[in-house]
């Protein structure tokens, strides 16, 4: 197998990490695909910034129960602490030594969505976020079982309201539709059956931790996906994961995340799904399979994915030494760009792809990049940072395909960087 060019390594890094630091990207040049992927996926230890001050569940619950005033105060506090949590994550995205793991954490946040808007408990969202981070490159089966017990998820999808005699199907439905199989691969009877299996799962009133209540559980026998029994929630998850479709559904999501907005070739998805399932749902195995595939490296798909707001904002600041903006400012910009962390717009998360760009967000993107690259004292640092390298290499570093607007004819590294960043192709990866 051939050796990777600089443009290849930039492709690999920008699609799997957060931005593309010059040194790290350059270091992979000349390696084989497999070597480069192994290096990239060997994570540095994950150290998140200190925990933001968040009020524990019990105190928030108590405040809410006190009075209308208490409810109001709790909501106000939630807003402030929610912002604190968003800033905390942005800070971590910006500084982490394990950007691939963090990219995956964000991917799982979009897969297993939960929102501050609904949950109203920043501390629970923090715990969920840590759960996703810990399992981001681990085992999908293990993560799914953990997510089903996750207190934020139990609140977000009304799992804690799902009790014997009064089932709430919200979690059961999304488990099938969004987390594992996708529409068309289950029916309404399966949703109802799965909801029965999860009755009794809830959150402890005082501690906000996962609890199981025998009294609230409906122990009756039912049929789920052709199997009959008095299944538990955990058994339901395992029955689903026996289906090859579950692994293929995840393979499709990986295709969309790492390769293209276009529909994938079903044969490729079958192959990846089979590998994934055979590995007992090892996320790393699936990711390696995707990154080693010819489709990932095909020139056909280079520069066809739209950068997410986090890719654009965090990625740019990790790639180039622009003056750092405050975490509050950055999370506000991401919100304006349509990616409000911890507050995805729907249960399906952010639709992503070309939907990142609309008349609002294109203006905000342009004005942000324009402000960042405008000549200033601070941007003079750029001059010394920029690699001593050929112009072609700088273009290959910052753009996935050739620019569509003419490049400046007057020499100057900063002018060049500005032109490249304002080229429409910079919005792509």
């Amino acid at each position: 197998m051939g050796r990777l060019s600089f443009s290849d390594t930039r492709h690999l890094v920008t699609r799997t990490a957060l931005g593309a630091e010059w040194g790290g990207t350059k270091a992979l040049e000349g390696k084989t695909r497999q070597e480069a992927i192994n290096i990239l996926l060997t994570s540095a230890p994950i150290r998140t910034p200190g925990l933001p001050a968040l009020t524990p569940w019990a105190n928030v619950t108590r405040m809410k129960q006190q009075s209308n005033m208490g409810k109001k105060r709790a909501r106000k506090m939630m807003k402030i602490e929610g912002q604190r949590l968003k800033n905390w994550w942005i800070k971590h995205l910006l500084h982490t030594d394990a950007p691939v793991n963090e990219h995956m954490t964000l991917f799982w946040h979009n897969h297993f969505t939960s929102s501050l808007e609904k949950v109203e408990q920043p501390h629970l969202l923090y715990l969920q976020n840590q759960l996703l981070r810990k399992n981001a490159m681990g085992n999908f089966r293990k993560m799914l079982h953990a997510v089903a017990r996750d207190p934020a998820m139990l609140v977000y999808l009304d799992g804690n309201k799902n009790i014997k005699g009064s089932p709430n199907e919200n979690f059961a439905r999304e488990l099938l539709e969004l987390f594992t199989l996708g529409r068309g691969h289950y029916n309404e009877t399966d949703v109802k059956a799965a909801a029965i299996a999860f009755t009794g799962w809830g959150t402890d009133r005082n501690k906000g931790t996962y609890t199981y209540s025998q009294v609230k559980h409906d122990p009756r026998t039912f049929t789920f996906m052709g199997k009959t029994g008095a299944f538990s929630g955990d058994q339901i998850i395992d029955i689903i994961l026996e289906k090859p479709r579950a692994a293929e559904y995840l393979a499709e999501k990986f295709w969309k995340e790492f390769i293209s907005d276009n529909h994938p070739d079903p044969r490729v998805i079958k192959r990846w799904g089979a590998k994934f399932k055979k590995s007992n749902y090892s996320i790393k195995v699936l990711l390696k399979e995707v990154l080693n595939s010819d489709q990932f490296w095909s020139s056909k798909y280079r520069g066809t994915l739209t950068k997410s707001p986090v890719d654009l904002v965090v990625g740019t600041l990790r790639t180039l030494p622009f003056p750092k903006l405050s975490a509050g400012k950055l999370s506000h910009i991401c919100q304006l760009l349509g990616q409000d962390l911890f507050d995805p717009p729907t249960v399906k998360g952010w639709s992503g792809g070309t939907a990142w760009i609309d008349t609002q967000t294109l203006l905000v993107r342009t004005s942000l990049l324009n402000k960042l690259t405008r000549h200033s004292k601070a941007s003079e640092k750029m001059q010394s940072y920029l690699p001593k390298s050929t112009g072609t290499e700088v273009v290959e570093w910052l753009l996935p395909i050739a620019p569509v607007l003419p490049l400046p004819t007057t020499p100057g590294k900063r002018r060049m960087v500005r032109a490249l960043m304002l080229d429409p192709v910079y919005q792509l990866k």
């Binding site: 609309d358 008349t359 203006l363 304002l422 429409p424 792509l428």
Partner: protein, 365 residues
């Protein structure tokens, strides 16, 4: 009913559409019961010892209009004012954010990210389908395939678009093509707004409020032939949890005065038959007043529709206020809000109704 083949080329590029809609978002959740008042219903007075309005303007069927909407009375008399009663949806959400999302995406399952107008109107390369004024959220015109611009006001928008690339380029993939399309939409809107900035304004005097200014800007765009079928403005301040009486009446006054000026300006320009005004809000408020002289988040509420071609009168059925007919203290809707959208799609624009399977249009236009 209209068929695909009958779709008129209503939005031929470069000229004013023949059917324009002005959406007015009453932000914060308008108190429907003090807007269109069941003034002969004992339950109304029982539920609202402090907040009941006794001096409403009687319309018909025991319903009266808030007295501060008096500026709109001539439109009622001319049969150009329709009230659609009891508009809402099943299992209503009481969260502003979530319920607004329901209204704007026409989905109660929180799983649709296209606005309802994005689904009704076809995106065009040569012009934008909507202009949102006073808000940076595309709302009902957002999402994949949408074609609208949102701005605080035209001057701010023109400043923001200054740095956007104006040059055409060769788009070698679908993502670039999409970006180029969006870029062109913004530039087209900016180009038009620049022209209109220097064009004539209506001679009608608008109220000197923020709301009045927005309506005056919309008017200027319409009378100068902007090629855009939808405008959206917002009137803020309807979240009246405490001391509601005066602020709410004041808002009614703003609403009535503003829309009166707008209708006058349209009539003067000979365009009143080409325009339809529709209000919407996150939800209504509870039937009973609270202890702070306000009302908390409720459910169903009436929607106001105005226009030269509107069929005036009361439409739909007013929900009962009898305590045993309420759901958790709230009015139960009698009209699904998607019927409003179905009506605009089918009867106003003569376009396909995306909700045809579940929701039939109403005869208010």
């Amino acid at each position: 009913m209209p068929l695909a083949g009958m779709l008129p080329d209503a939005f031929a590029a470069g000229q004013r559409p023949d059917q324009i809609v002005l959406l007015v978002h009453l932000q914060g959740a308008n108190d429907g019961l003090n807007t269109l008042i069941p003034y002969r219903d004992d339950f109304y007075y029982k539920a609202r010892p402090k907040l009941a309005i006794k001096k409403g303007i009687p319309l018909k069927n025991n319903m009266a209009m808030n007295p501060y909407l008096k500026d709109l009375m001539p439109l009622w008399e001319q049969g150009q004012m329709a009230w659609v009663q009891g508009v809402g949806y099943s299992r209503p959400s009481r969260s502003h954010f979530h319920s607004l999302d329901v209204w704007e995406t026409a989905s109660t399952r929180h799983n649709e990210d296209r606005g309802w107008l994005t689904r009704v109107l076809t995106s065009r390369a040569s012009a934008v389908n909507g202009i949102v004024l006073g808000d940076n959220d595309l709302g009902p015109m957002g999402g994949r395939g949408g074609s609208a611009v949102a701005m605080e006001d035209p001057a701010t928008f023109l400043r923001q678009t200054k740095y956007l690339n104006k040059r055409n380029y060769r788009a070698s993939n679908a993502s670039l093509a999409h970006m180029l399309n969006v870029q062109n939409q913004i530039n087209t809107a900016a180009h038009e707004l620049e022209r209109i900035h220097h064009a004539k304004r209506s001679r009608v005097k608008f109220p000197p409020s923020r709301f009045g200014r927005k309506l005056e800007q919309v008017t200027k765009m319409i009378i100068n032939g902007m090629d855009t079928p939808v405008y959206k403005v917002t009137l803020e301040g309807f979240d009246t949890h405490a001391g509601q009486m005066d602020p709410h009446n004041n808002l009614m006054n703003h609403l009535g005065g503003g829309l009166k000026a707008f209708s006058d300006a349209m009539k003067q320009a000979g365009l009143w038959n080409n325009v339809l005004v529709m209000t919407y809000s996150e939800f209504g408020r509870r039937v009973a007043e609270n202890k702070s002289g306000g009302t908390d988040h409720g459910a169903a509420a009436p929607q106001l529709v105005l226009g030269g071609r509107v069929r005036g009168g009361l439409h739909g059925r007013q929900p009962s206020l009898a305590p045993d007919k309420l759901y958790d203290g709230d009015l139960v809707h009698t009209v699904d809000f998607r019927q409003m959208y179905a009506t605009l799609a089918q009867r106003w624009w003569r376009r396909p109704n995306p909700w045809a399977n579940q929701h039939r249009p109403l005869p208010f236009v």
